[in-house]
């Protein structure tokens, strides 16, 4: 970790966004993770995405569980709401918060231990319920805080720093999310911000359950020969299927692309996802095709990255429950306590 505070001085020409904030205004305190941790790059990508979208920091709730990844919300958006929950329980706390106040932007940050082991059930249910959130898993394939044991996402056959082979099958959280009904599923790499930042922007704008599996090398315990989560391995086996541009309503559409190489997805808030295809035959509007493609490439040792699947007209949990459109903290006493007669009527409906 670093003992110094990051100096407040910034580049004299640092640009400001529509709210008049610089990117530096979206930072948190200095990271206490190991030097070179991929998670710090993801934090920087979240900062960049929130700055580019001109999100008001106080309209964001960032929630996490336990682990290296779950420490990171301290390192970005220090003017936002934060909740560091119990191990693996971020999805439940987030779901509760979301039901109470649907107006905030929910960002859940978790790791492979937090989401694929102790919190696997929590992860599954938040996806299948369609909680409107951005769920980022910072996936390094090891338990870094306990010195580098294989996590549940480590590939079978990969080698630990001490040379042990992993004999258990790895969980692919992106495949799980696809299967469980998440309406925005992407995979990226902490070492490729050009790909990662637009994916985070797209996920934050997405009106349903958005899941992002970000491979994030653990420099201390999983960046060696034989690892499948090292900087070198991921760079050599990264198969990006597309490149995303997120265009919010006001911007002009000026870029020109060849026919057939671009897929445009407009969501109901007016923002546009423009997918520049790298793999010609990849179609990110089909859940089944996505699952099959990712798994077939995995069988060839490739890691598929990019926007794997998006359902632009996604709904969310509020829609299926028919909850009030207003946050609970905006309701008055009369609405929250409608009186004896209303209670009687409600009870009668249960008899």
């Amino acid at each position: 970790m670093t003992y110094l505070a990051k100096p407040k001085l910034h580049h004299p020409e640092l640009p400001v966004n529509a709210l008049g904030f610089t990117r530096r205004d979206y930072e948190g305190t200095i990271s206490t993770l190991c030097a070179g941790c991929g998670h710090d790059s993801i934090s920087a990508a979240i900062i960049q995405a929130c700055w580019e979208l001109a999100i008001q920091p106080h309209r964001v709730a960032k929630l996490s569980g336990i682990g290296c990844s779950s420490k990171t919300p301290t390192y970005f958006l220090d003017k936002s709401h934060g909740f560091n929950s119990v191990h693996g329980r971020m999805p439940s706390v987030l779901t509760g918060a979301n039901l109470a106040n649907r107006d905030l932007i929910y960002l859940g940050v978790s790791g492979d231990g937090d989401s694929a082991s102790i919190g696997l059930g929590q992860f599954a249910h938040s996806m299948r319920r369609g909680v409107n959130m951005t769920y980022i898993v910072e996936n390094n394939g090891v338990y870094g805080l306990t010195k580098g044991q294989f996590s549940a996402t480590a590939d079978r056959g990969s080698k630990s720093k001490r040379g042990a082979l992993n004999t258990d099958e790895g969980i692919d959280l992106a495949i799980l999310a696809l299967q469980l009904g998440a309406s925005f599923v992407a995979r990226s790499f902490s070492g490729d911000k050009a790909q990662l930042v637009p994916l985070i922007k797209g996920a934050l704008n997405h009106p349903g359950a958005a899941f992002l599996d970000v491979i994030s090398p653990c420099v201390a315990f999983n960046n060696h020969e034989g690892s499948t989560r090292s900087y070198d391995y991921v760079r050599h086996h990264n198969e990006a299927v597309n490149f995303l541009d997120v265009i919010t309503g006001k911007e002009e559409l000026t870029a020109q692309y060849g026919p057939g190489s671009v897929q445009e997805v407009r969501s109901h808030d007016g923002s546009l996802l423009r997918l520049r295809k790298i793999s010609e035959d990849y179609d990110s509007s089909s859940r089944i095709a996505a699952m099959s493609y990712v798994q077939s490439r995995y069988a060839h040792g490739e890691i598929v990255t990019g926007l794997l699947y998006v359902e632009p007209e996604a709904g969310d949990l509020h829609e299926s429950l028919g909850t009030t459109a207003r946050p609970l903290n905006e309701l008055g006493e009369k609405e929250l306590c409608p009186g004896q007669a209303a209670l009687e009527k409600f009870n009668a409906g249960l008899r």
């Binding site: 110094l4 100096p7 001085l9 910034h10 990271s31 030097a35 420099v219 070198d232």
Partner: protein, 613 residues
Amino acid sequence: MKPTDIGAPEYFHKVVDCQWACPAHTPVPEYIRLIAQGRYSDAYMVNWESNVFPGILGRTCDRPCEPACRRGRVEENQGEKPEPVAICRLKRVAADYKDDIRARLPRPAAKKNGKRVACVGAGPASLTVARDLAPLGYHVTVFDADPRAGGMIRTQIPRFRLPESVIDEEVGYILDLGVDFRPNHRVESLKDLLGQGYDAVFVGSGAPRGRDLELPGRAEAARHVHVGIEWLASVSFGHVTQVGRRVIVLGGGNTAMDCCRTARRLGGEDVKVIVRSGFEEMKASPWEKEDAMHEGIPILNFLVPLAFTHEDGRLTGMRFQKVKAVRDGRGRRSLVPTGEPDPHFECDEVLVAVGQENAFPWIERDAGLDFDEHGMPVLDAVTLQSTAPGVFFGGDAALGPKNIIWAVAHGHEAAISIDRYCHGEDVSVRPPPLTTLVSQKMGIHEWIYDNQIVPDARNRVPLKELTIALKDLRQEVELGFDPELAWKEAQRCLNCDVQTVFAPRLCIECDACVDICPMDCITFTADGEEAEVRARLSAPARDLSQDLYVGAGLATGRIMAKDEDVCLHCGLCAERCPTGAWDMKKFYLEMAHAGPGCRAGAAPREERAGAPA
């Protein structure tokens, strides 16, 4: 782009903006750190080795280092008014609080080497030559027309800016090296001097002639019109002790500022400075203008002097023409009359400080060296050798009026030339500077230098109360920083000599340095042409005077490009680097000084091409 060659001494030297801008290349951040540690004597010695007159320069330097200071750039658009570190005034702190350092100075040579060098004039250039050569065993004779050594330092700088005791001390250190000083001895003939068998002659006679203003009434009012530098010298030697009640000072340079402030102290109640051109175009340093105005002296601009008015041989005032600045089609600026009536300002005395000229009436035109059409000696700008091989020039006498720190820089270079010349070596072969580059890493997150960046604005130097200051010509106005304030100001220094050094073969391209850098200096990107690369960095690198540090040989084939412009040298890139690909290394550069090391085996001159003369 071509990967940066950090082995070339100029590369990291340029990053230390202050040291690069200093004509003598004083290692500024090094002595500022020593001041912060309370090691004033050590700080003084770092200065003394390089610029010879720390106490004098700490009060009077033109400070080319300060406009160059990186602090001024990094504070832009951050709320506070951007200002450089008060480098010059910190130098004074080293001089004010040092212990007795005489034991650390060179001793007079135990054995003379039999070579004799004559220096004409006892100003900063000649004294520097004497300082460098006397300890090597040279017999150095310094001639001066004045009774005491120091040259313009003593005659032209008023005592309220520079106490005599400081001059005596620092000039004394040099004369005590066994220098043969001949006061009250004006050299009247170069031929005569050359005939006395000196092995080399150094001309450091300054720019001794103040320009006069030949206007109607000048002759009639002669008794009350004086040339600035001559008048200042007369005040310095006590020949002039008072001035009229109403004084006009003509001219906008630092001499004019010294004249008006001196006049204020000699009884001038209504003192004003009048300049032809605009206030902004004045040659005086901004802080000298501020000091004058602080003492109640107005500066009137856009007034061209027309005539001295007089009555019965007494000056009554001056008439001016009002002008304005107009730009022509090609952007050239000229002053044209506004057509308003010519204003008249009453006064009792006029001080003319409109520039200085070189004068060599004592150098016969057949003495064996060439002069150019402006009456200046023809010189090699680096070696300072004239067309007569044994005659060297330095200071204002060499390339026209500059300042003390340039005179010192010339003195060092001329001393090297003289030393090589006297040993039968080619003077055009110049010794390279001595450089070292040493890692500052102490522990995982500990550095030998203090890398915390303070947000403080520049600290002001406390001044003596005006009513007291104006009563006495010898009362020093600036009180100087006390140790506490000096420490605070020293904290503003960014330690630009502690360099970010990049080892591409260790880099795993994890982006940790890019993410942590507070100034967005670092980018990993595809290679390209410099102009195009500069435009697509994390923050565009628009300041072309600042280099891009390029590292190549990365696994992905990209380059690392670091814009040196606004780097805080905070070391966070190195702290967050998991592989030690970044390290913070202290770059120390000391210019070569005359002596045996600068003779046999010295590197050829081409190797230091690019370093400013």
